[in-house]
């Protein structure tokens, strides 16, 4: 019973975990004025469908939400009609994303988390997702992997139950971008950032506009106040 807890602890003590050797690309969505890169997020949706959707649900999204990524309603209807739901019918734009079909027992009891707000839940957000997806390496000497676990330098504890989900050419991008593992990881990280914070772009834009407006009004009010008080005190 104790073994599963002791092993990652030993791994941590040995200093094998988070090596952080990878170079993480810069994401359009990061930073105070970041925005969602719609093209990258659309590619990321393709990666999600091809490589993640079988095990990870995305319960907060409906197919119609993809219009928020710049797809037309006809394109969304086309995507939805290509997805067979559990009852055999095709999805419509108003259907929620199809739930995961693989049972948790497929991964030795490790439950694949719902990805609806994974970018908000994990410290580091998109950069963490990218690091985990590209962090698979052979286990260093001296590390004994738990049954059905894989070595991942970015995952806390270093041992992850998720098999490497991405590989070069796992998906063919509609826009012709070469689908390397790194590209796929970056795109799906952007897509999942959008999924957990679909109003990120609007929030930054509105916030900036409001800051400028209130800054202007503040200066105006200050001048007004100085003038009003100029004949007093």
């Amino acid at each position: 019973m104790m073994r599963p807890f002791i092993l990652p602890l030993l791994a941590l003590l040995a200093g094998a975990a988070p090596a952080a050797a990878q170079t993480v690309p810069s994401f359009a969505s990061s930073g105070p004025l970041g925005h969602i890169d719609a093209a990258a997020a659309q590619r990321g949706f393709a990666v999600y469908e091809a490589s993640c959707a079988a095990c990870h649900s995305l319960s907060a999204l409906h197919y119609r939400d993809l219009e928020g990524l710049g797809l037309t309603s006809a394109q969304v209807a086309g995507i939805a009609s290509g997805i067979k739901l559990a009852d055999g019918t095709a999805a419509t734009p108003d259907s929620p994303f199809k739930p995961a079909t693989l049972p948790a027992s497929a991964f030795g009891g490790a439950l694949p988390p719902d990805l609806s707000s994974i970018a908000a839940q994990r410290p580091g957000g998109a950069a963490y997702i990218y690091a985990v997806l590209t962090g698979y390496t052979p286990a260093p000497a001296g590390i004994t992997l738990m049954p059905s676990h894989y070595y991942n330098s970015a995952y806390p504890g270093g041992q992850i139950a998720m098999p490497p989900p991405l590989h070069d050419g796992a998906v063919t991008y509609a826009d012709g971008t070469p689908s390397t593992t790194a590209q796929e990881a970056a795109d799906v990280a952007e897509f999942l950032t959008w999924a957990s914070d679909p109003t990120l772009t609007a929030r930054h834009e509105i916030g900036l506009r409001a800051l400028i407006f209130f800054g202007f009004l503040f200066v105006l009010a200050l001048v007004l106040k100085r003038q009003a008080w100029s004949n007093q005190s």
Partner: protein, 367 residues
């Protein structure tokens, strides 16, 4: 503006409005910007109440996470309404803390302002209670585990206390939503009473030293309002989760466990103080003792009402402010190794300040 027939007609006919609405009053010259804090509190409270009412149209206490996801994905401007409520609460709590601190610094609690001071303390207490229920209602793991800990504490009680604690806490989120609404309503009433009491005891300045509210203080309040809007835009646009434990982004369930879930920053000082005392009555006893102590401040200050606070008194008040901030910082960092040592010391200092240092430093001036 001040003498518009319609406004004076209305003001003379609605009891209480005249003392809350500042537009007809005169003030002493040279008031600081901090004098606008109660007004800013009222504006922010209106925004928090209005956004809370709109949230009720989508929020479902039986499936909180799913309904909030509908809010942020499907409802037009739904994310903004939620941000108003969350960031508005942060602003509101910050302003009430600031207002009370300003009251301590300027001895605003001295006679005849005792009752206004007590209403201010009551406002803080009701506001923090309402915000804790709101934190639990968000359905995040932080709120979930905070609620579980409160339940576990309630089960340690016996007799009537246990019955009361379970009456408050049991029944799931739909019941907690009712309590949240009742507390929000109480906070609104406490705010009204506080503003009215403050207006009633405000000293009337001598004619040569007085200026009408409009245009002098109206312009000053506008500056303060713009600063509030600026800070609000900063919070909503760029720091939407400021002071909220990161764990609260995870849906709350028995599967997402944390030994110490943390609290939003405005509850953190209280949480740290409560966590410093052990046993069934330790935490709740500390909170009740703090509230009673704050209520009693007008009588713990022994200096005559008209005396300005001494330099030492002011320095001690600043130190108290720093101690409360330290308690809050400690409370927002779950698992901080210093917390078990630091929290009881800081909490004891807060009691020491009010019960020992404040009477001592003001005693000499009483003669």
């Amino acid at each position: 503006m001040t003498d518009h027939p319609a406004s004076s007609w209305a003001l003379s006919r609605i009891p209480g409005l005249g003392c809350v609405c500042p537009c007809r009053s005169t003030r002493a010259k040279g008031g600081s910007y901090l004098g606008a804090v109660p007004f800013l509190i009222a504006v922010t409270a209106l925004l928090v109440l209005a956004s809370g009412v709109v949230l009720l149209a989508t929020y479902n206490a039986r499936s909180p996470v799913a309904s909030l996801q509908i809010l942020s994905h499907a409802v037009p401007q739904g994310w903004l309404v939620r941000a108003y409520h969350a960031s508005g609460t942060t602003l509101l709590a910050g302003l009430v803390y600031l207002g009370l601190f300003h009251g301590l610094l300027t001895r605003a609690y001295r006679a005849p302002g005792e009752y206004a001071w007590m209403l201010g303390v009551k406002l803080l207490a009701v506001l923090l209670a309402a915000s804790w229920f709101g934190y639990v209602l968000s359905g995040g793991a932080g709120g979930y585990w905070s609620y579980q800990r409160a339940m576990m504490a309630a089960l340690q009680f016996h007799g009537a206390a246990r019955g009361l604690a379970l009456w408050v806490l049991s029944g799931g989120l739909p019941k907690l939503l009712v309590l949240h609404l009742l507390l929000a309503l109480s906070a609104g009433l406490a705010l009204w009473a506080w503003l009215a009491a403050r207006a009633k005891v405000r000293a009337t300045p001598p004619p040569g030293e007085a200026v009408p509210f409009y245009p002098y203080y109206a312009a000053q309040y506008l500056v303060a309002l713009c600063a509030l809007g600026f800070v609000g835009a900063l919070l909503i646009g760029f720091l939407p989760h400021l002071g909220m434990p990161a764990l609260n982004a995870v849906p709350g369930s028995g599967l997402s466990f944390a030994a110490n879930p943390g609290l939003p920053w405005y509850l953190a000082p209280l949480g740290a103080a409560a966590g410093s005392f052990h046993g069934a009555w330790g935490g709740i006893g500390a909170v009740i003792a703090l509230a009673v102590t704050l209520y009693a401040v007008p009588w713990l200050d022994l200096a005559p009402p008209e005396a300005p606070p001494s330099r030492l008194h002011q320095a001690l008040t600043w130190l108290l402010g720093a101690v409360v901030v330290a308690l809050g910082v400690d409370g927002t960092m779950p698992g901080c190794p210093l917390a078990p040592v630091l929290d009881p010391l800081l909490t004891l200092y807060v009691f020491l300040h009010f019960l020992v240092l404040l009477p001592l430093v003001t005693w000499g001036r009483a003669k």
